[in-house]
Subunit: 300 residues, 2 copies
Amino acid sequence: MQKIFIWGMGLLGTSLGLALRKKGIQVAGVVRSENSRKVLREKGFAEVYLSHEESIWQGILSSDGIVFGTPVDAIYPVLDMLLDRQLPDNIWITDMASTKAELMQRVENLNGKLLFIGSHPMAGSDLTGPENAREDLFENATVFMTLSTKIAEKTSPAQYHQCEKEITNMWELVGARTWQVSYAIHDKWAAYLSHGLHLVSCMVSHLLKDIPEVLQLPVNPAGGSFRDITRVAGSNPALWDTIISSNQQEVIEYLKSLESLTHKWRVSMEKDAFPIQDIFKEAADLRMQILKTEDTTENK
Amino acid sequence: MQKIFIWGMGLLGTSLGLALRKKGIQVAGVVRSENSRKVLREKGFAEVYLSHEESIWQGILSSDGIVFGTPVDAIYPVLDMLLDRQLPDNIWITDMASTKAELMQRVENLNGKLLFIGSHPMAGSDLTGPENAREDLFENATVFMTLSTKIAEKTSPAQYHQCEKEITNMWELVGARTWQVSYAIHDKWAAYLSHGLHLVSCMVSHLLKDIPEVLQLPVNPAGGSFRDITRVAGSNPALWDTIISSNQQEVIEYLKSLESLTHKWRVSMEKDAFPIQDIFKEAADLRMQILKTEDTTENK
């Protein structure tokens, strides 16, 4: 692996670029605005194309692989372009979008073959854009990788296996750990670990409309829990529109489970049979199991 | 105001003690364990009693006011003791518990009179105990104060007004801002700003039981939103048992509203009519209205 082409150098794309460059890999990329290109040039990326430039194709042809750093819906027209231009079959493609089923199925059904494996790095920030990129963003992050036997058979199983090795290698090079999972299961997990949570956070904010007087107070009446729980409410609305729309069915299932749990807890509280201490202890346990931490101090 | 007696010097009580002492006020206090007394003596608090000591009463008699730093249910037996011993009627009492209706009604119905005003400082920490106290914990915090005309009439309106001035003065001295609100409304607000949120945070953790495979992963699959939203899940279970039990009705109402909003959003998503971008924008707006911040960068 000598050169990676990153299509979409925002926070994730630029962070990946910085981390790869540190490991001696050449990086080329595509951005949408002249301003982003300026920021990237200041960061020392010489080969940065604007998304409408004809010369992009030359940059791609000299690369080992393409990584998409755009929202999922911006990937589709580029895949069509790559097929039209007959991308050489030794150049692999992956992405960093947070929903996988819709994307993988589109690639499986393309009228042509592309060496594609999905990636979803569990890393991010409250901040966006190349100016906020961090070389260490992927260190110790988990990257879910979604493979497809249908794509493997369309291309060639041996080539697909080689592509798997190279993409895994790229993620390990930047300090991440990979985990393979089917795209359907991935999207269910993503609803429980991320997508549904953004809606929960929004709900906590929206419920304030029940107590409009509080909104008018000249002082801030909220403590740390409100601040923490609502932190992700109001994440980039356009980006979240794409994410939730592309994982709508799993998010709907998540909301069903939430509704049912809320109902169950409320009814048991009405019967004076709500085991508060057990609930809190189990919540802390489950949290630590996920985060793989023994550090309980932050939960006290 | 020359001396304040703090009954219960954990995180909140000790933080208040440190802040008052800095302003030249004498501080005496009560703790439950010899270990806490040791920590407090190391912090320079000379007059610290253990909760079973007989000499407490002398410390109280030389004070202007008593502030409870204990959970709400630990306040009741002490109020009975103060009545039994005939607390002089120029010594006022307040507290720092996060539920107010149950406590205020108990004081209103005491067989005797105490000069009591409720306080709920919207300040805290993930950490507990006197060792984690911070002199600046109350700086810029809002303190909700709950008064009662019934208590004012039982004592004397003039004396009650004086007591209100002194307690307000104490909070302002340590950098907080006070806001008076009826105890019933306070408890509804507390459900929406704090108590209900701890349950929401626990729910997000408990829902993981729907995807048990994730709990077994050798890697941490969660990003920042899971970490933030579940941070308060697993807060001290015994303390939260007291808090939620003492505000049960309002928490039940909160869960009803949450259930109904979850249902509404799910149904509109099923009809492909869920206005994601509007929802996120409104959530960010409501959040900023509460937190009194113009800083949107942390929401991006």
